[in-house]
C-alpha cells in the first residue's frame, strides 16, 4: 500500500484531488438540496422530461460528430453551424411565410415535413460545401491543420448567415396543433417535447439500421476501420466520406427543427453552444459509436436540466440555472480528463492522438 502511494506522481495526485473535490461538491450539494427540498415532485418530473427532449436534440447533433470522427479522426468544429444553417434558413424562407398564410395551422403535418426537408437539405448542402472546399484538400495534413480550418469554417458560416438573414433573433411560429399538453403515464407532457422525443427515436433507429444493414453503411464502417484496406476492397473512400458528412448534417438539420419546436426562436449564433454540448455528448457516450452518441446526449440533457437544481441549489448559490452551461463544460472537461473513451467507446482518442 505504502509502496503504491510512493509511485503516484505529482500529476496523479492533482487528478485525484480534483476527482475527490468534485465528488464531495456533488454529494454535498445533492444532500443539501434534498434536505431543503425546494421543488415538488412535479418540478422534478418537468426537469427530467425537458432534459430528455433537450438530450434528444443533443443526440441527433452528436451523431454527426461521431460519424465524422469515426471516418476522419477529426473534430468537425463547424458541425454546430450545419445545425444552425438548416433551421435558420427553413425558418426565414419556409416557416415564416407558411405561418403568415395560415398553411402551418391548417396542415401542420405537411408544413412540418416541408420545414424538416428544407432544414435537412440546407444543412447537407452547407456540410458538403465545407467538406469539399475546406476539409478534403487537407486530409493528409498534420492534425492541428484541419481543426483550425474547421474553426475557421465555423466562424465563416456563422457570419455568412448573419449577413444573409440579419443578426436579430427570429421567432419560430407557434403551431396550434402542437400547443398544450397530453396526458401520458400519468403526467402532462408538452406536445412539442413529445414530438421531439418520438421523432428522435425514429431517426436514431433509422440511422442505426442504415449504418448496420445497408451496403453504404457497411462502406462507412469499413472506411472508419481502415481507409487503406477499404480502398483495396473497392470502396470509393471520397464518396463514402462525403456521404458520412451528408448523413451527419441531415441529422443536425433535423435537430435544428427540434430546437425550434422546443425553444421557438432561432438566430445565427445558435449553433455554437448546442454544437459544443453535442460534442460533449458524443465524447460522453464514446466518440465513434452511434448508440454512444444517443446515450451521451440523453445523459447530458438530463444532467444539464436537473443538475443546477440538484447540485447547486443546496449550496446556496443564487440563480443556479445561470450555471447550467458551467455544468455541461465541467462535465466535458472531466470526461476528457478521466475517461476519454466515454461510456461505450473504445480508446480511440489514445490510439490516434
Amino acid at each position: 500500500m505504502l509502496k503504491r502511494l510512493k509511485n503516484i506522481d505529482f500529476l496523479g495526485l492533482v487528478l485525484w484531488f480534483i476527482r475527490a473535490s468534485i465528488i464531495a461538491v456533488v454529494i454535498w450539494g445533492s444532500v443539501a438540496t434534498i434536505i431543503q427540498n425546494p421543488y415538488t415532485t412535479r418540478n422534478w418530473i418537468d426537469f427530467i422530461v425537458f432534459g430528455i427532449a433537450q438530450g434528444s436534440m443533443y443526440a441527433l447533433i452528436a451523431i454527426g460528430y461521431s460519424l465524422v470522427y469515426g471516418v476522419l479522426f477529426m473534430i468537425n468544429f463547424a458541425h454546430g453551424e450545419f445545425f444552425m444553417s438548416g433551421i435558420l434558413t427553413a425558418t426565414v424562407l419556409i416557416a415564416g411565410p407558411l405561418s403568415a398564410s395560415g398553411f402551418l395551422d391548417e396542415q401542420p403535418v405537411w408544413g412540418l415535413l416541408l420545414i424538416l426537408a428544407v432544414s435537412m437539405a440546407v444543412s447537407i448542402g452547407v456540410a458538403l460545401l465545407t467538406e469539399r472546399i475546406a476539409y478534403r484538400p487537407l486530409r493528409k495534413a498534420p492534425r492541428l491543420v484541419p481543426l483550425i480550418t474547421a474553426i475557421g469554417a465555423s466562424f465563416f458560416w456563422q457570419y455568412t448567415f448573419r449577413g444573409l438573414y440579419g443578426s436579430e433573433v427570429k421567432p419560430f411560429p407557434q403551431i396550434q396543433a402542437l400547443a398544450g399538453t397530453v396526458p401520458l403515464f400519468g403526467i402532462d407532457m408538452l406536445k412539442s417535447q413529445l414530438i421531439v422525443i418520438i421523432t428522435t427515436v425514429i431517426m436514431l433507429v433509422g440511422l442505426y439500421v442504415f449504418v448496420m444493414r445497408t451496403k453504404t453503411g457497411k462502406a462507412i464502417r469499413s472506411v472508419a476501420e481502415d481507409k487503406d484496406v477499404a480502398v483495396l476492397m473497392g470502396i470509393d473512400v471520397d464518396r463514402t466520406i462525403t456521404i458520412t458528412f451528408g448523413v451527419g448534417a441531415a441529422m443536425a438539420g433535423a435537430a435544428g427543427v427540434m430546437y425550434a419546436l422546443v425553444f421557438r426562436q432561432v438566430h445565427f449564433f445558435m449553433g455554437f453552444f448546442p454544437g459544443l454540448k453535442a460534442f460533449t455528448a458524443a465524447v460522453l457516450g464514446g466518440i465513434g459509436s452511434i448508440p454512444g452518441a444517443a446515450i451521451g446526449g440523453l445523459f447530458l440533457g438530463i444532467f444539464e436540466s436537473v443538475g443546477p437544481a440538484l447540485f447547486l441549489q443546496g449550496l446556496g448559490i443564487p440563480a443556479p440555472h445561470q450555471l447550467k452551461d458551467v455544468i455541461a463544460f465541467t462535465m466535458l472537461v472531466l470526461i476528457l480528463i478521466f475517461r476519454p473513451q466515454g461510456i461505450l467507446g473504445e480508446r480511440l482518442a489514445e490510439k490516434k492522438a
Partner: protein, 559 residues
C-alpha cells in the same frame, strides 16, 4: 502540356462563374453596400465596387494565363468576365420580379443601385455585362504585356488602391502636418482625386520598372559587404526601429495611437499564445481566460468603486501577472496528458467556464456580474496619470518589448528547443529525456503571464470591464493572428496583429464582417499558406519539406 490545351471556353466560363458567385456572395451578405460608402477615387470608384470587380478581374486574368495561345487568352478572359457578370445580373432580375428583401435583409435597393449602376433592370444588366467584359478584356491585354511591366502595373494599382482606401486617415494626417490647402490638392471629400490617382499609378509603375532593372545590382552590392559590417548594419536597423517606435505617437495623432494601443495589446497576447501554440504546439482555445483573470485582478485591486481595493496600477500589475500564471498552472495541470484536438476543446471549455462564472450572480459580490467593474483608474507615472493614448502607448510598448525580448531569448534557449521537440513529437521528446510536465506547465505559465499582463493593461486602459468582453472570439482573434503571421514567428505576431486587429479598426465599416474574414482567412491560410505571411525559418522548412526537397532552405529567403 495537356492541361494547357485543355483550357477551353468551358473552363473559362467555369472560372468566370466562380468569380461571379464570389461577387454575388459578397453582395448578398451586405458587404458591397456597406463598403460603397468609402470612396477610393472621388466619383470614380468605391470600395464596394472594387470588391465586386476584384474576383472577376483576378479570375479572368487566371483564365488568360492558363490559355495556351495568345489569341485564345484574350477570348478566354473576356468570356470569363462575361460569365462573372451572370450571377449578379440574375440577382438584378430576381430582385425586380420578387421582393427578395423580405428574406435576405441585405438585398436592398441600395445594393441593386450599385450593381445596375442606377440604370434600371434591363439597361443595368447590359452595363454590368459590358463592364465585366471590359475588365476581362483589360486583363487579357495586360496578360500580353512583358512579365516585368505587368508586375509593375499591378504594383502601381495596388499602391493606388491602398492609398485610396485610407484616404480619410491620410487626409486627417496631411491636414495636421501640412494644412488644409495641401491636403485638398490630393484628397477631396475623403477620396483620392482622379488626377492624383492617375499620377500615383504612373509614378509607382515607372518607379517599379526602374527598380526591377537596377534593384538586382544594389542587392549584389549588399551581398559583398563583409560580415562585420553587416552586423553593424543590423544593429543600426534595430536602433532605428526602436527610435521610430519611441517617437511613433508624435506622428500618428491620438486616433491612430489608440488603434496602435489596441494592436499592441493583441501583440502581447499573440506573443503569449505563440509560446503555447507556436513553440510548444499545445492548441489552447481558452486563452482568453488568462486575459480575463489579468483584467479582473487589476480591476478588483485598483478600482476606486465599491468593488475595488484601490491600490496603485504598478502594485497591481505584478499581482495580475502572478494570478494569471497561477491560473495557467492550475488549468494546465489537469490537461497535461491530453493532446491535439481534445486539448483544444477542454481549454475552450475552461475559457467559457471562467466567462460564465464572471457573469453569474454567484460571484456578483466580488466581480460585479453582468454589470462588470467600473472606475478603474488609469496608470500613473511619476505623479501624472497616463490619460492620453499617446501616454498609455508607452506602457503598452514596454509590455510588448519585454514580452518580445523574453520570447526571443526563450526561442533560442534549451527550454525553447524542448518546446519545439514537444511540438514535433511528444513521445519522442519524452524518450529524449524531456520532462513533459515541467516543459508543458512552463509553456502554459509563460503564455498565461503575457496574457495576464495584456489583460491588466486592457482593464486600466478601458477603465471599466464587463464579462462579455472576454468571450471566445478573443481567443479566436489571437489564434487567427498568430496563424496569419506564422506560427512560432515573432515578427509574424506583429504582422498578424496589424492585419487582423489594426485593419478592421481603420476600416470601421468592416467591423461587422470581421469574423467572417477571420474564418475565411483561417481556411485560406491552412489551404494555401499554412506557414503564415512571415514564417519562422524552421516552420517554413518543415511545411514545405515534402514539396521541394531540393534547395537548401536558407537560400529560400533570398527569393
Amino acid at each position: 502540356m495537356p492541361t494547357m490545351q485543355d483550357f477551353n471556353l468551358r473552363k473559362a466560363i467555369n472560372f468566370g462563374l466562380i468569380a461571379g458567385v464570389i461577387s454575388l456572395f459578397i453582395s448578398v451578405i451586405g458587404m458591397t453596400t456597406l463598403l460603397s460608402k468609402r470612396q477610393l477615387i472621388a466619383g470614380v470608384l468605391t470600395l464596394g465596387q472594387l470588391l465586386i470587380f476584384l474576383a472577376p478581374a483576378l479570375l479572368s486574368y487566371q483564365a488568360a494565363e492558363k490559355s495556351s495561345k495568345k489569341s485564345r487568352a484574350i477570348l478566354n478572359s473576356v468570356v470569363a468576365g462575361l460569365a462573372a457578370a451572370t450571377p449578379l445580373a440574375l440577382l438584378i432580375l430576381l430582385e425586380s420580379l420578387f421582393n427578395l428583401r423580405q428574406f435576405f435583409i441585405n438585398v436592398s435597393p441600395d445594393l441593386i443601385k450599385i450593381i445596375n449602376f442606377g440604370q434600371g433592370t434591363a439597361a443595368g444588366m447590359a452595363i454590368l455585362f459590358a463592364a465585366m467584359g471590359l475588365i476581362g478584356l483589360a486583363m487579357g491585354l495586360v496578360h500580353l504585356l512583358q512579365p516585368q511591366i505587368r508586375k509593375s502595373i499591378f504594383t502601381g494599382l495596388v499602391v493606388m488602391l491602398i492609398i485610396g482606401t485610407f484616404s480619410e486617415l491620410l487626409t486627417e494626417r496631411l491636414r495636421a502636418f501640412f494644412g488644409v490647402e495641401f491636403s485638398k490638392t490630393i484628397f477631396q471629400s475623403k477620396a483620392l482625386l482622379p488626377s492624383v490617382a492617375a499620377i500615383i499609378l504612373i509614378v509607382v509603375t515607372v518607379f517599379s520598372i526602374v527598380w526591377t532593372k537596377t534593384g538586382d545590382k544594389i542587392k549584389q552590392r549588399l551581398d559583398v559587404i563583409p560580415a562585420g559590417q553587416k552586423r553593424t548594419i543590423k544593429a543600426g536597423n534595430w536602433v532605428v526601429l526602436l527610435a521610430v517606435l519611441f517617437l511613433l505617437p508624435q506622428f500618428l495623432g491620438s486616433y491612430l495611437t489608440e488603434v496602435t494601443n489596441n494592436v499592441g495589446i493583441f501583440v502581447l497576447m499573440g506573443l503569449g499564445l505563440n509560446i503555447v501554440v507556436g513553440f510548444a504546439g499545445l492548441l489552447d482555445l481558452g486563452y482568453v481566460a488568462f486575459f480575463a483573470i489579468g483584467a479582473y485582478t487589476m480591476a478588483v485591486m485598483t478600482s476606486t468603486g465599491a468593488l475595488g481595493v484601490g491600490v496603485s496600477f504598478w502594485l497591481a500589475l505584478p499581482v495580475s501577472v502572478t494570478a494569471a500564471i497561477i491560473a495557467g498552472v492550475l488549468l494546465g495541470t489537469p490537461v497535461l496528458r491530453m493532446r491535439g484536438d481534445y486539448l483544444a476543446i477542454v481549454t475552450l471549455g475552461f475559457g467559457e467556464i471562467i466567462r460564465i462564472l464572471a457573469n453569474s450572480d454567484m460571484l456578483k459580490s466580488f466581480l460585479g456580474g453582468a454589470q462588470g467593474i467600473l472606475n478603474i483608474p488609469k496608470p500613473e507615472f511619476m505623479g501624472t496619470a497616463l490619460i492620453q493614448p499617446g501616454q498609455l502607448y508607452y506602457v503598452v510598448l514596454a509590455g510588448c518589448l519585454l514580452a518580445a525580448f523574453v520570447s526571443w531569448r526563450l526561442s533560442r534557449s534549451r527550454l525553447g528547443r524542448q518546446w519545439m521537440a514537444l511540438r514535433e513529437d511528444e513521445d519522442v521528446a519524452e524518450a529524449m529525456g524531456i520532462n513533459l510536465v515541467k516543459t508543458k506547465l512552463l509553456a502554459f505559465a509563460i503564455g498565461a503571464a503575457f496574457s495576464g499582463l495584456a489583460g491588466a493593461i486592457f482593464a486600466s486602459k478601458l477603465t471599466s470591464i464587463f464579462p462579455h468582453s472576454f468571450n471566445l472570439l478573443i481567443s479566436i482573434n489571437v489564434l487567427s493572428l498568430i496563424i496569419v503571421g506564422g506560427m512560432g514567428s515573432l515578427p509574424g505576431v506583429v504582422v498578424g496583429a496589424l492585419i487582423l486587429v489594426g485593419l478592421p479598426e481603420l476600416l470601421r465599416e468592416f467591423a461587422e464582417y470581421r469574423y467572417l474574414m477571420y474564418g475565411a482567412l483561417l481556411i485560406v491560410m491552412m489551404l494555401a499558406k499554412p506557414e503564415g505571411f512571415w514564417p519562422s525559418a524552421i516552420q517554413r522548412r518543415e511545411l514545405h519539406a515534402y514539396e521541394d526537397p531540393g534547395p537548401v532552405p536558407d537560400n529560400a529567403q533570398t527569393e
